[in-house]
Symmetry: C2
Subunit: 220 residues, 2 copies
Amino acid sequence: KRQFVVVGLGRLGLSMVATLDSLGHDVLAIDSREDVIQDLADDLPNVHLVAADATDEGAMRGLDVESFDAAAVLIGENHVEAGILATATLKELGVPKIVARATGRVHARVLERVGADRVIQPEREIGEQLARIMASPALLDYVDLGEDEALIEAEVPKEWVNRSLSELALSRKAGLTIVALKPKDGAGSLPHGDTVLREGDVIVVGGRKKDLDSSELVQP
Amino acid sequence: KRQFVVVGLGRLGLSMVATLDSLGHDVLAIDSREDVIQDLADDLPNVHLVAADATDEGAMRGLDVESFDAAAVLIGENHVEAGILATATLKELGVPKIVARATGRVHARVLERVGADRVIQPEREIGEQLARIMASPALLDYVDLGEDEALIEAEVPKEWVNRSLSELALSRKAGLTIVALKPKDGAGSLPHGDTVLREGDVIVVGGRKKDLDSSELVQP
Ligand SMILES: Nc1ncnc2c1ncn2[C@@H]1O[C@H](COP(=O)(O)OP(=O)(O)OP(=O)(O)O)[C@@H](O)[C@H]1O
Ligand SMILES: Nc1ncnc2c1ncn2[C@@H]1O[C@H](COP(=O)(O)OP(=O)(O)OP(=O)(O)O)[C@@H](O)[C@H]1O
């Protein structure tokens, strides 16, 4: 069980507070608006909700912020200056690890300079993730393993349906390794020679990028 | 190679366009502001950038939107009404799959009613991901795969050190799939049953969110 400070209870901050709370951690949730704090009290009985100005060093010291494991300053684009000053304040007070939210690259650099250990740009990150999910509905994920290998998660291509792995002989014939199987109707499993692939099963396949790219997985 | 329409080129839209483009897909990127379109032209030479009003059915029909694989309406909170009308317009024109961005639950429900197949709430999703990354220092990255699955990149938890994958039987026992291994001393590799996890290795693990959350990866 760990202890976190979350400053700024907009949608991002509130979601983080609720998730940390549901994972069983202690949360000190701070927002300068009294009405925001009041509204949340009933929904988050285990969270320590405080109406305070995070740029007020005395107020933050009074809350013992330096004794927490980490803090997240999630003040958004409506109060950029407050977000920068709050980050600097928590850094001054010795909070060991600070994550801060930025609206763009210049803002991110400023936050790092005043003490953020990590900066997030939520819109940019979701844009990247959404692109990958949209781009491959059958290709569920693509993980770059570095060097020239990669891993693909995909639905079984129709050419491989109802065939066993030893019959397909993918590693011998195509340089591919089926690393895991997620059958349509059941828990994931490790593949064996006598495993038969069924329509709708999901397979995790690894290999060299050019071998993956030229296989039935990517060129259906 | 697939073809996508992205409406609304704020930070989220732009990030999605750039990622889709880098993955080699065709992108039609639409924004009603001429200056936004002009500014992007040099950076995204392969993207079809068009200044147009996405609520204008005639303009959208003229761009053949229904011939694309999917569309994302990423207009933000400054133009909620336009986002709803653009979603409805693209649905009317027969775009097969539409993802739209919402500011909250009521907005999300409206978007679904007017034709969005999937609705994203970026701030809320990043808040959940960031909570998990903050809560487990060994958890290096958390990627939402959509539906209720996710992918985690984490250091090998101490309970799994020096054990082989077949011995751990994670997919059978915990519904988790070790998708890739990035050993502390070497290039990434594909996991096999006889792979032994070492302290300091990084593993990429996939599974349902609730299974990941209750595993040793997130609850050390
Ligand atoms: N100095 C401060 N100390 C504490 N909280 C602050 C301070 N300044 C602003 N806040 C709070 O930060 C919260 C989020 O900031 P802001 O309104 O800029 O973001 P938002 O864009 O609404 O957030 P989101 O996109 O996450 O919904 C607000 O509730 C605001 O009251
Ligand atoms: N009817 C419309 N047709 C096309 N584009 C539109 C329309 N209405 C608004 N847009 C564009 O959508 C874009 C994003 O909308 P908005 O300004 O609400 O979001 P944002 O909060 O700035 O986005 P982000 O958070 O992703 O940076 C703007 O560039 C705007 O010009």
